[in-house]
Symmetry: C2
């Protein structure tokens, strides 16, 4: 029995405390932040380093930067930060591993960036899903999350593409992909989640340096692009407090 | 012949420009920043990713954070950032690879963090060097650097130890290691370099969270500790401009 279990059990058996607030205080001791998504979130993380706050487990993208920033800034929050992004994933693949890679981790804050593959793989990977598939699957995932974790604070991150990147070679990026972005935004509003406008943040810096500097293939950001993402994400996280 | 070489050769053969300022302008097009050191700098970098600005090549420590910050902040500088830290190294090992891993890269800014192993391995690794060895070797390395790269801006980073870490288990950390720190500082002043006070920065946050949070073994920082280092480094880098 560890110290916390002992305290909890010990107190509970002898003192009649209001249960809800007591358990609430115990849980507040640690704050769990979970990043979910595809390759942009994964960013080459070492999947064997799956414990919280492990440097090798954060990958080399925006998660690593955002995580280290808040760990450095808020030691008193006892943050436990997990990266569970997996390269290539679409919403239905998040759903297939959601129990292990989201619900069981009991995040206080859950950040999700998903959607670029739901569209991109229809161009390159023989995937047949539509924007309706994306929106329906994503809505179901959010419902399931809210049911399992009613107090979780959800951050939906805007899927993005950087114009001029080497994968930005089909007019559907202009005509169809924005529908996926609109679906994500609609769900953020429907579920009253936080929203990180990655597209806006990257568009704002694009003129200086171009896609080659910020996001060579248009989908996977460079270190510079990931830093811009991290800053946009942190702005929202600081609001959550 | 690439565009830049063509421009340079073409112009030089036809117009009588003042050479020094002309070459200066060409070189100013890119700014090379090189991080040198031991495992704290290495931080598990992928050594196959040795080109500048590669995310996997930055490791997961303060270099990754500092690099992504300045890449995100200064696109107009055309930064080329290299991490050439190697785990376990002492000054004499930097010297043995200095031509390939420093001089040939022609850094405009060279950041060096070295010294903890020069001391630590006398406790644990059967190494016989003294603080005099450290200071002499480091002075020779700095002279050699200045001779080869007269305009390089050098940043010397303070070697540090976090009290309470698991490797902080010998009274010599208190009695002898500070002499190594003093030598590094003396050389910074002797060569008129920039100085990053890592010990001060880490001491300032230690009370909240303790060594387990910032630097579990006292030598290798956590993500949180690396973030504190990156912030201290960035403060100095911003002065360089």
């Amino acid at each position: 029995m560890d110290k916390r279990t002992f305290l909890k059990t010990g107190l509970m058996s002898t003192i009649a405390l209001p249960m809800t607030s007591f358990i609430h205080n115990i849980d507040d001791d640690k704050t769990t932040v979970l990043f979910q998504g595809d390759s942009i979130t994964d960013a080459g993380r070492d999947k064997a380093a799956y414990y919280p706050n492990q440097a090798q487990g954060m990958g080399t993208g925006y998660v690593h930067m955002a995580a280290s920033n808040i760990l450095g800034m808020y030691p008193e929050r006892h943050l436990r930060i997990y990266n569970r992004g997996i390269s290539g994933h679409k919403v239905f693949q998040l759903a297939s591993r959601w129990d292990d890679d989201a619900v069981l981790l009991k995040p206080d804050v859950l950040s999700i960036l998903i959607g670029v593959n739901d569209f991109w793989h229809t161009l390159t990977g023989g995937y047949n899903g539509t924007v309706e598939t994306y929106e329906t699957d994503f809505r179901n995932l959010l419902r399931r999350t809210k049911d399992a974790l009613p107090n979780v604070k959800i951050i939906i991150c805007e899927p993005f593409v950087v114009k001029g990147g080497s994968a930005f070679n089909d007019p559907k990026w202009n005509s169809v992909f924005p529908e996926y972005q609109a679906s994500a935004k609609k769900l953020a509003s429907e579920f009253n989640t936080y929203w990180v406008p990655f597209q806006t943040a990257l568009d704002a810096v694009l003129a200086k340096g171009g896609a080659a500097y910020w996001c060579p293939d248009g989908v996977h950001p460079s270190l510079a692009g990931a830093r811009v993402m991290a800053d946009a994400w942190l702005k929202v996280y600081h609001q959550i407090g």
